[in-house]
């Protein structure tokens, strides 16, 4: 991997982590309404996959969607503005954290329904195939969604039609509070791919270089017209299901153990330095830039006007 790519992967991951930390602070200050779901711990997946995507490639995301949004090159200010319920937010304060979309960058939206985005990405891939473009679609979803009917129906449809879509299952070990080891009778979710007639790849979702390599193959395969791939990234979410989750389903030992042993950002830094793709001081400079960018984005978002009043006609495109 070249230096620029490595540093960009790190920058995206660090931006996601900082965004989640800053959102948590804003939530604690009662500035964010509703709920937020932190992507901290899973940054390597969004960063490694989206590094291969162009602005005209599509993604569908999840309720835990901030990371995908950032990796698909969203503007931080408009994301914060959405969380703060401002007119300047991506969805003009109509959607909030669980529904951020940025169609200008091919982000077809976070989704509050587990597995809701899987057929939508499949349909985006159908558009690419139908129009004869080389665009691809990526559906991000969790281990919970892999047990929804949409997963089964969509993977089958994509396989029989050889659609240019990559199904990225982020196994963060918990479907809300239900542990994956209890929700699956198999240990490796990727083996399900064989049942649909597509490649299934399991990768360490903590290792951004590994995700990047596996996603590169899957995206190339889709772009070349060779059909879909199921890419399962083993991961762990550092926080609870949502902000304030009492996490009664996890022991303190488990949480602390994972958090100290499973940090894709720590790993990414070590890897970059070890492979001489960057120095500690270069990475520190990136961190400072991101911190500054984050504060500017929050300030811009907080200065924005509140969401405008609803208009009855806005729910339709043709009135």
């Amino acid at each position: 991997m070249d230096k620029a790519t490595a540093l960009h992967l790190y920058r995206v991951m660090r931006t996601i982590r900082r965004f989640e930390q800053r959102s948590t602070t804003l939530f604690g200050e009662n500035k964010i309404w509703g709920t937020i779901h932190s992507y901290a711990g899973e940054e390597a997946i969004a960063a490694g996959v989206c590094e291969h995507l162009r602005d005209d490639d599509w993604i569908t995301s999840t309720h835990r969607g901030h990371g995908h949004c950032i990796a698909k090159r969203a503007e931080l200010g408009k994301m914060f503005a959405e969380l703060l319920g401002r007119e300047t937010g991506y969805c003009r304060g109509r959607g909030g954290s669980m529904h951020i979309a940025d169609t200008s960058k091919g982000n077809l939206g976070a989704n509050g329904i587990v597995g809701g985005g899987i057929p939508i990405a499949t349909g985006a891939a159908l558009t690419a195939k139908q129009l004869g473009t080389d665009q691809v679609a990526v559906s991000f979803f969790g281990d919970g969604a892999a047990n929804q009917g949409t997963f089964h129906e969509s993977l089958n449809i994509a396989a029989i039609w050889k659609l240019p879509v990559i199904y990225v299952c982020e196994n963060n070990q918990y479907a809300e509070s239900f542990p994956a080891k209890k929700a699956f009778a198999i240990e490796d979710i990727a083996i399900r791919a064989e049942g649909y007639g597509m490649p299934g790849v399991r990768v360490d979702g903590r290792d951004v270089a590994a995700v990047y390599a596996a996603a590169g193959e899957a995206v190339a395969r889709a772009r070349n017209g060779d059909g879909p791939t199921l890419l399962v990234c083993e991961s762990y979410r550092h926080e609870g299901h949502y902000y304030g989750d009492p996490r009664k389903y996890q022991s303190k030992e488990e949480i602390e153990g994972w958090k100290t042993s499973f940090d894709p950002l720590v790993d990414a830094r070590a890897w970059i330095v070890r492979e001489k793709l960057g120095t500690e001081s270069e990475l520190d400079a990136v961190d400072r830039e991101i911190d500054d960018e984050m504060e500017r984005a929050v300030a811009w978002a907080e200065a924005g006007p509140p969401a405008s009043p609803l208009r009855p006609e806005e729910i339709y495109a043709s009135n």
């Binding site: 109509r94 959607g95 529904h99 979309a101 349909g123 985006a124 009917g149 029989i160 729910i315 339709y316």
Partner: protein, 345 residues
């Protein structure tokens, strides 16, 4: 009044004289609309079960595979949420898909994609998205298909902000409304009736558009307004002919499109006749007739000589045996009696 947004695309013409019309079955008229819209716009595709060689469970897509091939007549596995969700994604990204759900009773399997995704994407995303999707389906009883293949579920969809709901009664309206629904930039539930497919009527040749949101007075009258849709329009017209023999002139308003609803046309008719009977096949409780009756009560109470009345399906799953089945949805004689009672006070 809602306007049709017509994309700047060439008229297909299809070599036909636009002023001509011919008699067609309802199913043929739908087929004609699909064919013309597919000729006109390469982004129109059809997805559904048994729609290819078989031509659809009710032959609405007959012949389209031969003309447009398997990439545009996309036959799917029996995967209702998969096929509707794929259509939602295709609509979000530039195609104009028509997804066929063979029976409206199967819509529960696809409901998340219809309700949480297609209907809400535009709003949730602050206007960034448009979802030009048509979900064609059919409902209704009268064919001995029993409880899981005979329901009238339009009220479910009228309750969802972001959907449009269309229920044509005649072949000409079926063609014109389907073409308009395909050109519309919003998700439209296009609900046919299984016993209308083999009914006949004059249908304009070539391009024919009926705007969504416009009711049609199918019969003018002075004594009572019957507001209705789908197959009950035909029953109501028969009933109106019988009522005329008794000296009662009923006006039959076919709403055609439940959402958006042509309130002005309904209120104008009610203000003229001062009496209204709302007739639908769906179960009365929670049915869309309640919405229309309430609308009339709120907006035209002082113009009424009698309370708005509803005649609708019995609260039961649709039974199998024919005499039982006929007994649970309004028949012509039921409409005659209800209208007569309303007029005679």
């Amino acid at each position: 009044m809602p306007q049709i947004r017509t994309a700047p695309l060439p008229s297909s013409g299809a070599g036909e004289d636009a002023s001509a019309s011919r008699e067609m079955f309802y199913a043929e008229a739908l087929n004609d609309a699909l064919r013309i819209e597919m000729q006109r716009d390469p982004k129109v595709i059809v997805l559904g079960e048994d729609i290819a060689e078989h031509g659809g469970a009710f032959q609405v897509t007959a012949g389209l595979l031969a003309e447009f091939g398997p990439t545009r007549i996309r036959q799917t596995p029996i995967s209702e949420i998969g096929l509707v969700g794929t259509a939602v994604g295709a609509a979000l990204t530039g195609l104009r898909p028509v997804a066929e759900l063979m029976y409206i009773d199967f819509s529960g399997l696809a409901m998340d994609q219809i309700v949480n995704q297609a209907a809400q994407n535009r709003f949730m995303f602050g206007g960034q998205a448009r979802v030009p999707l048509v979900v064609r389906t059919q409902g209704g009883s009268g064919r001995g298909n029993a409880a899981q293949h005979s329901k009238s579920l339009e009220a479910w969809f009228t309750h969802v902000a972001g959907l449009k709901v269309v229920m044509p009664a005649t072949p000409a309206d079926a063609k014109g409304l389907l073409a308009a629904a395909i050109r519309d930039d919003d998700p439209v539930m296009f609900i046919e009736h299984k016993l209308l497919y083999r009914t006949k009527g004059q249908v304009p040749a070539g391009e024919h558009l009926v705007p969504l949101g416009r009711a049609d007075v199918k019969r003018a009258g002075t004594d009572v307004t019957i507001v209705t849709w789908s197959r009950e329009v035909l029953f109501s017209l028969e009933a109106a002919a019988k009522l005329a023999e008794e000296g009662i002139e009923a006006e039959v308003v076919d709403v055609r499109s439940l959402v958006p609803l042509d309130k002005d046309a309904i209120l104008a008719s009610v203000r003229k006749t001062r009496r209204v009977l709302v007739v639908h096949e769906a179960i009365k409780r929670g049915g869309y007739g309640g919405e229309i009756a309430a609308l009339i009560a709120e907006e035209a109470f002082d113009d009424l000589d009698a309370p708005p009345r509803r005649l609708a399906g019995v609260e039961t799953p649709i039974p199998y045996a024919q005499p039982l089945e006929l007994g649970v949805v309004p028949q012509v004689a039921d409409i005659v009696e209800a209208a007569r009672n309303l007029v005679n006070g």
